[in-house]
C-alpha cells in the first residue's frame, strides 16, 4: 500500500496554501496612481492628505481612493485623464518639499496586503523605463585628493617653516628640505597629523622625500566620491518625479540608475548631469526683512533669498566661499550631544573663512544651495532648452567663534537634519565627473508588447505541454499536469515573496522550467512502466518507479542548478533575471514533480487493489 503519513499530506497542503496565497496578489491588476512623498527632511503627514483632498475636490477631479502608507501618499484614479490633470495641478500647487510622481499602484485587497502579499515587480523591459549605468571618474577623485593633501601638507609644514619646496609629481608629493634635521622633524609631524600620507619606500634621500596617499585613504576617497554622487543623483531623481527609482552602487566605481516609466530620457540625461553648487553668505542684519519683503525694495548690497519652506531672508550679495571650496563634510555630535556638521574647506576657502569669521563674530551666516538646471521643453512645436537656477537657503546659523578650513555648523534641529545637511554639502561638492556608460531604454509600447507576448507564449507553451502529457500518460499525465500547474503557482509566489523583478528573460526562464519540469515526471512514469513490465503489482511498481527515478532526477537537476547559479553570479541584467527564475523553477519542480505528484498518486492508487494503472 502506498500512503503518505497524515503530517506529510498536511505539510503539502499547507505549503500549497501558502504558495497560492502569495501568488494571489498577481491576479489583481494595478491602478493608475499618483505618489507623493517628501523631499529630504520633510515627511508627508495626515494634514497633507486633507489638503490634497480639498484641492482635488475644489478642482472637481475624481479619484478612487487616497491614503498615507509608508510616508507616501498614494492617490488612485479610474482613468489616465484625471491622473494626468491631478499631477499637473499638484505639481503646481505643492511646494518643492514634495515629490509628485506618476505610478502604477497594485490593487491588492487590504486583507492580502495585511499578510504581506505583494505582486511581483515588473522589470523595465516589461513596464517601460530607462536604465543607466554611470561611471565615476576615479582618476579625477585621486587627483583631487592629491591637491587636497598638497595644500594640507603645506599648511602643516609651513607653521615651522620646515620645507624648502613641495611639488606634485603624478600621484606623488615630493618634499625637499634645507637640512636633515628639518626633514626628521617634518617626518614626525606628517606621521602625527597626516597619517594618510606614506613615505614611498626607497624615495628618501638626505634632503628629500616622496609621499603618496595610503591605499586606505585612496579607497576611502573613492568610496566617499561614489556615495556623494549617489546622494546627488538621488536628489536629482526626486526632482524628476519618478516613482520607485533604483539608484545603487555597482562595484567600486559605478552607479546604476533605473527610472521606471520615464519616457523623456533626454531630460533624465540632462538632470543627472546637472551641476549644483553651494554658497556661504552673511545674513543682512542691518536692514529689516519685513520692510524689504512688503515694499519689494531690496537694500543695496543685499539680496532676498528663501528657505526651502518658502520663508524669506535677506543675505549680503558678497559670497564668502562657494561649494567648490568644500572638500568634505561629515555629520556628528558635539560634547553636549547636539548634532553638528563638520566641514573641510580647501586652503583659499579656509583663509577667506578665517578673515570673515574674525570680522563678523556672533553674526549670522547662511548656506545657500544653488542648482543650475536645463530642461528641454516644447514651445509652439519647437523644442527649446530652458535653463533655470534655483537658490535655497538650507541653513542660517550664528558664528560662535573664528575658524578657517575646518569648522562645524551647529544649531541644527536633529541628528537627521545634520546627516542630511552633510550629505547635501557633499552632494553639492560633487567634484568627480560622472559619465553614462550604458543606457537601456524600453518605450511603453514595447514594454506592453513584451508583457503580452511573454504571457501568450507561456500560456500556449504550457497548454501544449499539458495536452501532450495528458495524452501520453493518461491519469498519471493529469497528475503531472496538476504538479506542473502548482509549480507555476509556486514560482510566482516565491518571486512575489522575494520581490524579485520579473523581466522578459525571466519569463523565458519560467517557460523553460515548464519544459524541463515535466522531465522529472517523465522519468518517474517511464520507470513505473518498466516495473510493470517486470510483472510487479501496481503498488510495488509505483514505489519502485519513484525510488529508482529519484537519484537520477536529483543528479540531473543539481547539474542544471550549477549551470544556472554560474549564470546568476556572472550575469548582469537580462542574464541574471533568467538565472533567478530558472534556479527557483528547478528547486520548486523537484518538490511538485516528486513529492506532490506522489501524494496525489497515493490518494488515487494508494489503497487500490486494481491490477492496472492508467499510465
Amino acid at each position: 500500500m502506498n500512503h503518505y503519513p497524515i503530517w506529510k499530506n498536511a505539510l503539502i497542503v499547507f505549503f500549497l496554501f501558502i504558495s497560492a496565497l502569495y501568488a494571489l496578489p498577481n491576479i489583481y491588476g494595478s491602478d493608475l496612481a499618483i505618489q507623493i512623498s517628501g523631499t529630504g527632511d520633510y515627511v508627508v503627514q495626515d494634514q497633507d492628505v486633507k489638503n490634497i483632498k480639498d484641492s482635488l475636490e475644489a478642482n472637481e477631479i475624481d479619484y478612487k481612493s487616497m491614503g498615507l502608507v509608508d510616508r507616501r501618499i498614494m492617490i488612485r484614479f479610474e482613468d489616465s485623464q484625471s491622473q494626468l490633470s491631478s499631477k499637473t495641478l499638484l505639481k503646481n500647487t505643492l511646494s518643492r518639499n514634495y515629490v509628485v510622481a506618476l505610478n502604477l499602484a497594485p490593487s491588492v485587497p487590504q486583507w492580502l496586503s495585511n499578510v504581506g502579499g505583494k505582486a511581483m515587480s515588473l522589470g523595465l523591459d516589461l513596464r517601460g523605463g530607462v536604465h543607466f549605468l554611470l561611471e565615476v571618474d576615479m582618476e579625477a577623485v585621486v587627483t583631487i585628493a592629491i591637491d587636497r593633501y598638497y595644500n594640507e601638507l603645506r599648511t602643516v609644514l609651513r607653521e615651522d617653516r620646515l620645507y624648502k619646496s613641495i611639488r606634485k609629481e603624478g600621484n606623488l608629493l615630493v618634499v625637499s628640505f634645507k637640512t636633515e634635521n628639518l626633514k626628521t622633524e617634518a617626518k614626525k609631524l606628517i606621521k602625527d597629523k597626516l597619517s594618510d600620507l606614506n613615505i614611498v619606500e626607497g624615495s628618501e634621500t638626505d634632503l628629500q622625500l616622496s609621499l603618496k596617499i595610503s591605499s586606505d585613504a585612496q579607497s576611502a576617497a573613492k568610496s566617499s566620491a561614489l556615495k556623494q554622487n549617489i546622494t546627488t543623483l538621488r536628489n536629482r531623481v526626486n526632482e524628476l518625479g519618478v516613482a520607485e527609482p533604483i539608484i545603487q552602487r555597482q562595484g567600486s566605481e559605478r552607479i546604476v540608475v533605473q527610472l521606471p516609466g520615464v519616457q523623456d530620457t533626454a531630460r533624465a540625461k540632462e538632470i543627472l548631469g546637472a551641476v549644483a553648487t553651494l554658497e556661504f553668505r552673511l545674513v543682512d542684519e542691518k536692514n529689516d526683512l519685513q520692510t524689504a519683503v512688503q515694499s519689494g525694495k531690496i537694500p543695496v548690497g543685499s539680496k532676498l533669498y528663501k528657505f526651502k519652506s518658502g520663508e524669506p531672508l535677506l543675505l549680503k550679495t558678497a559670497v564668502i566661499v562657494t561649494g567648490e571650496n568644500i572638500v568634505d563634510a561629515a555629520s556628528s555630535v558635539d560634547q553636549d550631544n547636539s548634532p553638528m556638521v563638520s566641514i573641510t574647506l580647501d586652503n583659499a576657502g579656509g583663509r577667506t573663512m578665517l578673515d570673515t569669521t574674525k570680522e563678523f563674530l556672533h553674526h549670522r551666516m547662511a548656506v545657500v544651495y544653488i542648482e543650475n538646471k536645463v530642461e528641454t521643453i516644447v514651445e509652439d512645436g519647437n523644442t527649446v532648452k530652458k535653463r533655470s537656477k534655483t537658490q535655497d537657503i538650507i541653513n542660517a546659523a550664528t558664528i560662535q567663534g573664528t575658524f578657517s578650513n575646518r569648522f562645524q555648523i551647529t544649531g541644527l534641529d536633529s541628528a537627521r537634519e545634520a546627516r542630511n545637511l552633510a550629505l547635501l554639502l557633499r552632494a553639492g561638492s560633487l567634484s568627480a565627473p560622472i559619465e553614462i556608460i550604458e543606457e537601456r531604454t524600453i518605450g511603453p509600447s514595447l514594454g506592453a508588447d513584451n508583457i503580452q507576448k511573454g504571457l501568450i507564449s507561456v500560456l500556449v507553451g504550457f497548454s501544449l505541454v499539458l495536452f501532450f502529457m495528458g495524452w501520453r500518460y493518461r491519469v498519471f499525465g493529469l497528475v503531472a499536469n496538476l504538479a506542473l500547474t502548482l509549480n507555476l503557482v509556486t514560482i510566482v509566489s516565491i518571486l512575489s515573496m522575494l520581490q524579485a523583478t520579473l523581466t522578459l528573460p525571466g519569463i523565458a526562464g519560467i517557460v523553460l522550467t515548464v519544459g524541463m519540469a515535466v522531465d522529472a515526471n517523465v522519468l518517474i512514469f517511464e520507470r513505473i512502466k518498466e516495473e510493470l513490465q517486470l510483472n510487479k503489482n501496481i503498488q510495488k511498481a509505483i514505489s519502485a518507479g519513484y525510488a529508482k527515478a529519484l537519484l537520477t532526477i536529483a543528479d540531473a537537476n543539481i547539474t542544471t542548478l550549477i549551470a544556472s547559479l554560474v549564470l546568476f553570479s556572472f550575469g548582469t541584467g537580462p542574464v541574471k533575471g533568467f538565472a533567478v527564475t530558472l534556479s527557483i523553477g528547478i528547486i520548486t519542480s523537484m518538490f511538485t514533480a516528486i513529492v506532490l505528484s506522489r501524494a496525489v498518486i497515493n490518494l488515487i492508487y494508494g489503497g487500490s487493489k486494481s491490477e492496472e494503472l492508467s499510465i
Binding site: 524600453i442 501532450f468 515535466v518 544556472s564
Partner: protein
C-alpha cells in the same frame, strides 16, 4: 497507438557510433571553420555602440533615415526593418565620441511622430567587460559541472559529458556564425542553459549505464550501454519534445527580442539530445569503462542499500 504499447526499443546505437562520429566531426569542422573565418556577429552588448528601435505610423523610409544619418556624419551605421516595415532598427558602431547623448540627437533628427521603442547604448569599456565575463561564465560552468560529475560518477563520465557539452556549444555557436544571427547577452544565457539541459540528458543516460553495470550479470560494456540508451530513449524523446514545444512557442510568439534566445535554445536542445545519445556514451566506451570502475566504495554501497 504504437507509442503506447510498451516494448523497449532495441536499437543498436553503439554500433552506429561510427556514423555519428563522422556526422559530429563534419558539423564540428564546418562550425570551427565558420567561427574562424567569419566569427560571430556580436551584438552591441559585446562590441559597444548604440541601438535604437523606432516605430513609425506608416511604412518607414529606410533610405531617408540612412541619408539623414550620413549627412549628420555618423559612421558605421546599419538601418533595417525589425519585425515589420513600420519598425526600424538603427545600429551604430561606437563613434569617435561615444556617449549616451548620440541616441538623443539621432531621435531628435528623425523628427516628430515616431515611437521610440528601445534605446541601448553600451560604452566600449562595458562591452569588453561583458565579453570577458561571458567567457568566464562559460568556463566556470564547465568546470563546476566537471567536478560534480567526477564526484558523483567517475572521471571517465566527467570527460564524456564535458566532451558532449563542448561539442554542443561549438555546434550551436557554429550555427550562429554560419547564419550570422546576432549574438548578444541573452544568447549567451541561452548557451549556458543549453549546457545545463544537455548535461541533464547525459546524466540520465549515465545514471542508467551505472545502474545496469551494477544490476546485471553482463560484463561487456557495449550491450550495457546499448540497453541503457534504449531504456531511456522514450524519456529522452518525451522530454526533448516537451521542451521543444515551449521553446517553439517562445520562438514564434515571444516577440523579436526573445527570438534569437529561443533560437539558440532550440538548436541547443536538438544537438544536446543527439549528443547525449551518441557522443557522451561513445566517449565513455572509447575511454574504456568497465564494471570494476562502477563498483561503489563501501560508503556509497551503504547509501545505496539504504535507499527505499
Amino acid at each position: 497507438m504504437s507509442l503506447r504499447s510498451f516494448k523497449l526499443p532495441t536499437i543498436d546505437f553503439v554500433n552506429k557510433r561510427k556514423y555519428a562520429l563522422v556526422f559530429s566531426a563534419l558539423l564540428l569542422i564546418v562550425s570551427i571553420i565558420s567561427l574562424g573565418l567569419q566569427g560571430l556577429k556580436l551584438g552591441i552588448d559585446f562590441t559597444g555602440g548604440t541601438l535604437i528601435e523606432v516605430g513609425y505610423q506608416q511604412t518607414a523610409d529606410l533610405e531617408d533615415i540612412r541619408t539623414k544619418l550620413v549627412s549628420a556624419n555618423f559612421t558605421g551605421t546599419n538601418v533595417q526593418y525589425f519585425g515589420s516595415d513600420t519598425e526600424v532598427l538603427i545600429h551604430l558602431e561606437p563613434q569617435s565620441i561615444s556617449s549616451a547623448k548620440l541616441s538623443t540627437s539621432i531621435i531628435q533628427m528623425l523628427g516628430e511622430g515616431i515611437d521610440v521603442r528601445r534605446v541601448e547604448f553600451v560604452g566600449p569599456k562595458v562591452g569588453e567587460e561583458l565579453t570577458n565575463d561571458g567567457g568566464l561564465a562559460l568556463l566556470y560552468a564547465l568546470i563546476g559541472i566537471l567536478i560534480y560529475v567526477a564526484f558523483r560518477f567517475e572521471y571517465r563520465f566527467a570527460l564524456g559529458s564535458i566532451t558532449a557539452l563542448i561539442h554542443d556549444v561549438i555546434i550551436t555557436l557554429g550555427v550562429f556564425s554560419i547564419l550570422q544571427i546576432e549574438f548578444d547577452l541573452t544568447v549567451l544565457a541561452a548557451i549556458l542553459a543549453v549546457i545545463g539541459y544537455s548535461l541533464n540528458d547525459t546524466i540520465v543516460v549515465f545514471d542508467r549505464i551505472r545502474e545496469n553495470f551494477l544490476s546485471t550479470r553482463h560484463i561487456e560494456p557495449v550491450p550495457i550501454v546499448n540497453d541503457a540508451l534504449n531504456q531511456t530513449l522514450t524519456r529522452t524523446i518525451m522530454t526533448s519534445l516537451t521542451t521543444l514545444i515551449v521553446l517553439l512557442a517562445l520562438f514564434y510568439l515571444g516577440g523579436e527580442v526573445i527570438h534569437s534566445f529561443a533560437g539558440a535554445l532550440i538548436i541547443g536542445v536538438v544537438i544536446g539530445t543527439y549528443s547525449s545519445i551518441f557522443v557522451a556514451s561513445s566517449m565513455i566506451l572509447a575511454l574504456g569503462i568497465s564494471k570494476e570502475d562502477m563498483l561503489p566504495s563501501e560508503k556509497e554501497k551503504k547509501e545505496i542499500d539504504a535507499r527505499p
